[in-house]
């Protein structure tokens, strides 16, 4: 999708159309730009930019508080739409998906016809534009999707690769981030064509077997990774939540309060997936963007927010903030096991399970946090933008 969150907001509010719009956490200076409209992008606003900086570059910028419910709903409808053409649909992010139409394209008149059809349907249903990239593998399809925005349709065949790669910067390849781009530049590799000509042994020597081999394959325009549909996805390896506080704080009690909220959310998510975790990871980010991170393996597997919180507090004990204000709090559980519900010999453990089940039932029926611990009543977590547990955050 093109400038997805911003485009949705421009559809929702017609007065925003044609204007520079950025979607973030609201009008607060602490938020970052989660998405910028094409009008804002043209004026230099970029995704991930702090909102104060975006406003400085573009004083006329309209900051809009994002609303995840719209974006998640739209994304789900799109995935359903894609499933009309193939069951091999991989949700790559909230606004990107891979479709493997190898086995079904003939039925729908070919891949280009499918792409045109999808673009038309998205426009009719939501009034949104999208760019479709078509290629013989995910790497080339993704690259094709990046080449013409907005509202593009680009096809790359294997035969196009040698000529096309000569003029495409290596950073356009999915999987080549800023760091790798820098390392490649040190080796004199700036375009995909230069990567293509670099012998595999040199790349393996510089980056190691896994990454070196992968970069070599990228240079050749090859990608063997399959389209992995949701129903074939691996189980999450960890689950957790993080939250940027509305205000930086030196007060550990405030940090603990948010930690309890996040622990409850994590516990709820674990129980929904029938999982329990044993290793607790706690992380804090300070106002200077340095951080504290520590993990601890606990004696027992857990899925209760209070147990998770108590474990995190044990990690937190003795931490000296040394005059550093906390900006973000995060908690995550790993070493997960699924469907372990052994009856305990201890009566209080069984009682606690019943209470949790009852609370979950109430919250399932009336909405999240309908029943909460009293200590949470003072702590409200505003909805976050740009961090969607779409597949599963903090996984692998």
């Amino acid at each position: 999708m093109n400038a997805f969150f911003a485009a949705v907001e421009q559809r929702v509010n017609p007065r925003l159309r044609g204007k520079p719009v950025a979607v973030g956490g609201g009008i607060s200076k602490r938020t970052v730009v989660a998405a910028a409209s094409y009008e804002a992008k043209a004026l230099g606003v970029k995704t991930g930019m702090p909102s104060w900086e975006a406003k400085k570059i573009c004083p006329g910028l309209i900051m809009v508080a994002g609303d995840m419910s719209k974006y998640v709903y739209t994304s789900k409808v799109l995935i359903k739409m894609f499933n009309n053409y193939t069951d091999l649909v991989e949700a790559f992010s909230i606004d990107e998906a891979f479709l493997d139409v190898t086995g079904t394209r003939a039925r729908f008149g070919g891949e280009v016809k499918i792409a045109r059809d999808i673009k038309k349907r998205i426009m009719e249903r939501f009034g949104l534009t999208c760019t479709v990239g078509i290629g013989p593998n995910k790497l080339l399809a993704k690259l094709a999707g990046e080449l013409r925005k907005p509202d593009g349709l680009v096809v790359i065949d294997f035969e196009d690769v040698p000529e096309m790669f000569e003029r495409i910067p290596v950073s356009e390849l999915c999987g080549v981030g800023r760091k790798i781009e820098g390392y490649l530049a040190e080796m004199g590799i700036r375009t995909c064509g230069e990567l293509r000509r670099c012998p595999g042994r040199i790349l393996v020597g510089r980056f190691g077997a896994a990454l070196g081999e992968s970069l070599y394959m990228m240079g050749q325009g090859k990608d063997l990774s399959p389209v992995v549909p949701g129903w074939r996805e691996e189980e999450a390896k960890s689950m957790g939540h993080s939250y940027t506080l509305p205000k930086d704080t030196f007060d550990l009690d405030i940090v603990k309060n948010y930690l309890l909220h996040l622990s409850e959310q994590t516990g709820r998510r674990l129980r929904r997936h029938g999982c329990r975790g044993k290793t607790v990871h706690l992380y804090l980010r300070y106002s200077d963007f340095t951080g504290f991170s520590k993990q601890k393996k606990m004696e027992d597997y857990m899925d209760d927010g209070w147990d998770i919180y108590s474990s995190a507090v044990r990690i937190l004990e003795g931490l000296d903030l040394r005059g550093k204000a906390v900006r973000l709090v995060g908690i995550c559980l790993s070493s997960l096991i699924k469907n372990l519900d052994q009856i305990s010999l201890l009566e209080d453990k069984e009682s606690k399970k019943k209470v949790l089940r009852a609370i979950d039932e109430v919250n399932d029926r009336f909405g999240e946090f309908t029943v909460v611990r009293g200590s949470l009543l003072n702590t409200e977590l505003h909805e976050k933008i740009g961090m969607v547990p779409f597949r599963s955050s903090l996984r692998r």
Partner: protein
């Protein structure tokens, strides 16, 4: 200016046709607003209730209406001022 959160129960005239809801008018503070255009629709779950959202325009302003399908109630949730 961010949209004003209203969250007020309102009366809405709507057509339910082929599994879709089409709001046609609503009454807010005694004034009737005709829906000229439905800009966007989306849904979300709140517990067992499904909330249907409609961003609509009366030709001048944009409003966000919501319909709770469990309680069968309509609300005016937001008014877009910008």
């Amino acid at each position: 200016m961010p949209p004003a959160n209203i969250n007020k129960s309102i009366q809405v005239g709507a057509i339910f046709r082929s599994g879709a809801i089409h709001p046609k008018w609503f009454i807010w503070d005694g004034r009737r607003y005709g829906v000229k255009e439905v800009n966007y629709t989306w849904r979300m779950s709140k517990g067992l209730a499904e909330i249907h959202f409609f961003s609509v325009s009366d030709g001048i302003n944009s409003f966000e209406l919501s319909f709770n399908s469990r309680e069968m109630t309509w609300h005016l949730t937001k008014v877009h001022s910008q």
